[in-house]
Each structure stands twice: as C-alpha cells, then as structure tokens.
C-alpha cells in the first residue's frame, strides 16, 4: 500500500476548477517529482493534500487514512511536512525560533536543531538573527531545514530552486538529496534536470490532471514527453 494516494482529486479556487481529477501515489522512501507548466495545478495538488485547498471531490489517503475533512494542523501532525514555494519563513522570528516552531515535541528541540545545523551550518552561525534579514538562499535553507526538523514521514517540497543563484541551487539540491535518504518526498520543481536528478519517479501535470508518468532514471530532460507538456 502506498504512503500517499490521490484518487480523482478535484479542487477549486472560488469557481475556478483547478484540479480536474488528479490521481497519483507515492511509496515510502521514494522521491516523486511533479512537473508541468506554470498554473497547471502542481502547487494546488500539494495544498489539497494539506487541506489548505480542500478537495471538493476525490480522496487523499495518507497511510491508508483519509485526510479529507481534517484541519491542516491535523494533517501536519500525522507527519506531512510542507516546504512552500515562496519559503514563508517567519521573518520576525529568529532562525532558531523558526526551527523551534516546526519541532512538534519540546523534548526533541535539541536533536531537531542539531539536525538542521548539521545540514546547513550557516544557519547555526545565524541562529539568533531575524530570519527576514537572511539572504534568499539562506531563507530557502531555513525553509528546508524547517521541513526536515518536523519529524515528517512525507515532505511536500514546492519549487525549492525558484529564484536562487546557481551555486545556491547546488547547495539546496545537495541538502534535498541528503534529506531524501531518510524522507519520502513529493517534489514540485520547474528545473527539470534538478527534478529528474532528485526523483525516482515523475508525474507530468497538465490542465489539472496527471497526463503522464514514468521512472526518472529512464528519461532525460529533453525527452519528447517533457517537450510536449512543459514547453511554453
């Protein structure tokens, strides 16, 4: 049985029909990339899993339990973490406070902070600094670290390389790669080579549906299937 299963998920923003029956699954231990053009429903898929944009039809199951109808914090408490596309760090909290807010158990603060600082040593240097004063790359590291310390069984990672300099993208990719050894990830990423490099499998999303899928190792970024659905 899959760790995560989406079955015919329909989601809306107001009257706009964004997801028109998304089906996908993620097995424990794998990294699955969700690729597609802007605005086809990738981020909405992640939001539907978290119940931030609750599905109006269809089913979302995590460890065989339905998440539909739960509050977002209840989904998170079941072990689903989120690294959002625009980082959404708490800019007026310090780096350490951002991490503490993500650690569910007060007893786990020490080990959680160690985990984050081992992955991103620069965050330890800046632990007392307001997160809003970090550079874009450091903020992305903090967003990822916040996802890592949450004792999550599944990480929903949304556009981790967006807006970052190439060197920072390499650092972020390395951190995600290291994290993927212990975590299961559903990754939304516009940078196709990076997505395929990190992922075990991929789904192509177009117009609110999954239109194709396959093994990441068996394709390259210039594959005809990607050209068909990802080119502008």
């Amino acid at each position: 049985m899959s760790l995560l299963e989406l079955d015919g998920v329909h989601a809306y923003y107001g009257d706009s029909h964004i997801l028109e029956g998304v089906d996908l699954s993620v097995e424990a231990g794998e990294v699955v990339a969700l690729v597609g053009r802007n605005g086809v429903g990738k981020t909405t898929t992640l939001r539907s899993i978290l119940q931030l944009t609750p599905p109006r039809a269809g089913e979302v199951r995590f460890r065989e339990e339905s998440l539909v109808g739960l509050e977002t914090h209840e989904v998170a408490q079941r072990g689903v973490g989120w690294i959002p596309e625009d980082r959404r760090i708490f800019s007026q909290l310090t780096v350490e406070e951002n991490l503490r807010a993500a650690i569910p158990d007060a007893d786990g603060v020490s080990s959680g902070l160690s985990l984050a600082f081992d992955a991103f040593p620069i965050l330890e240097e800046r632990r007392g600094q307001d997160a809003g004063t970090l550079s874009g790359g450091q903020q992305q590291m903090l967003a990822i670290a916040r996802g890592l310390v949450g004792e999550n069984d599944l990480l929903l990672v949304d556009e981790p390389s967006e807006g970052l300099a190439p060197q920072i993208v390499a650092d972020v990719a390395e951190a995600l790669s290291a994290a993927s050894e212990d975590a299961t990830m559903l990754l939304v990423e516009q940078n196709l080579p990076l997505a395929l490099d990190l992922a075990d499998r991929f789904y192509i999303v177009d117009n609110g549906r999954v239109v194709d899928d396959g093994d990441a190792d068996a394709v390259s970024a210039d594959d005809e299937r990607f050209r068909r659905y990802l080119s502008a």
Binding site: L52, W82, Q92, E97, A101
Partner: protein
C-alpha cells in the same frame, strides 16, 4: 514669554513631574492596549468591545474590593486585596473572552472583516446596556465614577510622593510599576514560552503555522481570552484613578486611546504598542503641562493624541513597528 515658559518647563521639579506623569499614562495605555494589539496581531480582529470589557473589569475589580475592604483594612491589606482582585478579574474576563471567541467570533473568521467589526461593535452596545441595567438594579449612577470603589484605595496612594525635588503621586508610581510588570509578563510569555512562539508565528503567517502542526484556531481562542483578561486587569487599575474611575463611559474613554496607541505602534505588534504607549503618554503629559500652565485651555491636550495619530499616519502609515500586512487567516 516662550523663553520664560521653557525655562520653567525645564526645571528639574517640573520636568520630573511631567516625565513621571507621562510614564504613568504610558503604563495605563500599554495595559489597555496590549490585549487589543495581541488580538489584532494574531487574528486580524479589531475588537471594538475591548473598551466595554475594560469597563466591566473596572466594575468587577471594584466589586471585589468593596466586598472585601473594610474601614480597618490597612495599606498592605488593601494592596494585597487589590492584587487578589486583579487575579479574580483576569480569570473571570479570560473565561468570558474564551466564551465570546468560541461562540460568536469564530463563526465569522471566513467572512470579510466588516462582519467582525459590526459584531464587536454590537457587543459593546450589549455589554454597556447590561452594565447599565445591573447598576440600575442597585440604584447606582452609570455615568459617574463608582465612589465606593474609589474609596477602597489606600491612603498612601492618595498622597504625594517626593522623589528628590520632584513631587509626584504615589498612584502614578504604582501605575508605572504595574505597567512595567505587565509588559515584562507579556514579553516573557511571548518570547520565553512555546505558546508565545506559536502566537508570534501565527501572527505572521497563520496558514504556514497550521502547516507546521500548530492548532491556530486554539491559539486564537487562547489569545482572545488572554486579551480580554488583560483588558479586565487594566480596568481594575483604572477603577482607583480619579482621572478614569469605574463608570459606563470608561468604555469609550479607554477604547479611543487604545486604538490610537495600537495604530501608532503598528497594528498588531506588541513592541510597537509599548513604544507607542511611551510616545503617546509622554506627548499627552507634556502637552497637558503646556496647556494647563501657559495656554490655559484644558480641553485641548486630548487633541494632541489625535495629532500624534495624524502625524504617524501621514509620515509612516504602517505605524512605528508595523509591517505592510498583518493578521489574517
């Protein structure tokens, strides 16, 4: 004339008195406004009922004091009972605040802000009317200060205190101490406790906080309840100050400066509220001195509060420590 007035103002005794009175006003403002700013910062709810609940706190605190203080109760006894009254009022108003949030505020979170404004304004009318009815049942005047509650103030707090060449009221010193205590307690709660961390995270981005597993709705309830508890505690202190006193008009008298302080500080930031309380309190005290001693027109000093508000909105619309967008859910 101006030089002479300035020289008079800058003497140690006058300047010291203005500063102490300004700090006392700042302490009252920060106590009144803290609950309002915490509620708005986290929940995006502008609670127009805040002043009315401060007024309820003044009457409830007064009731505790009137029932427990006798002629023979000394200074220490009265001060001790006052702190008991603060705890009782804080507890009672916190429970009331929790009940209000869960029953009438919570269903409106997904509606436009105008619904919350109308609801809390309606609450003000209801609370004020209930208090009038209860006072009427006991033959008490709703418009004038409750003298029996004022009479429970210990003699010491009615007397002037000499701090070197500066003569001030002991009550001002007492108000400053309570204000400092309140700020320190809230600051410690927000920065030293796990729940305070959740409140600050939720104030900045409640959706992200939910996605980290924080039950933001529960945090909303706790913050609203504590905010109302703080309003009640502030009301208990105001009950002893002849400039305020326990009366129904206290609701409007406290709501206005509370809003000014919260807006000047930057909607929803506690640090801003503390600094704005100092700015508004000191401005109020300074202008009061000038209007009373040289301009000799006692109605105008209150206008200076609005002047501070207008200048802030023109120069820095988001307030001293405000961010472009706060609250929301």
């Amino acid at each position: 004339m101006i030089v002479e007035a300035l020289a008079d103002f800058l003497t140690l005794s006058e300047l010291g008195r203005v500063v102490v009175q300004g700090l006392a006003k700042s302490a009252l403002y920060v106590m009144i406004a803290s609950g309002l700013t915490l509620i708005f910062g986290l929940m995006g709810v502008l609670n127009f009922a805040h002043g009315s609940l401060t007024m309820v706190g003044a009457y409830l605190g007064g009731l505790v004091m009137v029932l427990t203080v006798s002629q023979s109760t000394g200074v220490v006894g009265r001060l001790g009972l006052f702190f008991v009254a603060i705890v009782v009022v804080f507890g009672a108003l916190t429970i009331l605040g929790g009940a209000i949030e869960t029953t009438v505020i919570r269903p409106l979170y997904d509606r436009p802000p105008i619904y919350q404004i109308l609801l809390t304004f309606g609450l003000t009318l209801v609370v004020d009317e209930i208090v009038r009815i209860v006072l009427g049942l006991y033959g008490m005047q709703p418009l004038s200060d409750w003298q029996a509650a004022l009479a429970t103030k210990p003699q010491l707090l009615r007397e002037p205190a000499a701090l070197g060449p500066v003569e001030v009221r002991w009550l001002s010193v007492f108000e400053i101490l309570l204000g400092v205590l309140t700020v320190a307690a809230i600051w410690a709660f927000l920065t030293r406790t796990r729940y305070g961390l959740y409140i600050r995270a939720g104030s900045e981005d409640s959706e992200m906080a939910s996605a980290l597993g924080i039950d933001v709705r529960q945090v909303f309830t706790v913050v609203f309840a504590l905010g109302i508890g703080l309003a009640g505690a502030a009301g208990t202190l105001l009950m002893w100050d002849v400039a305020w006193g326990a009366s129904v008009p206290l609701a409007a008298e406290t709501l206005l400066p509370a809003f000014i302080v919260v807006i000047v500080g930057g909607l929803g930031t506690f640090r801003g509220t503390v600094v704005a309380s100092l700015v508004v309190g000191m401005t109020d005290s300074t202008m009061t001195w000038w209007f009373q001693n040289y301009i000799r027109f006692t109605g105008l000093p209150e206008l200076t509060l609005f002047l501070v508000l207008v200048v802030t909105l023109v120069v820095r619309p988001q307030g001293l420590f405000g961010v472009e967008e706060v609250g929301g859910h």
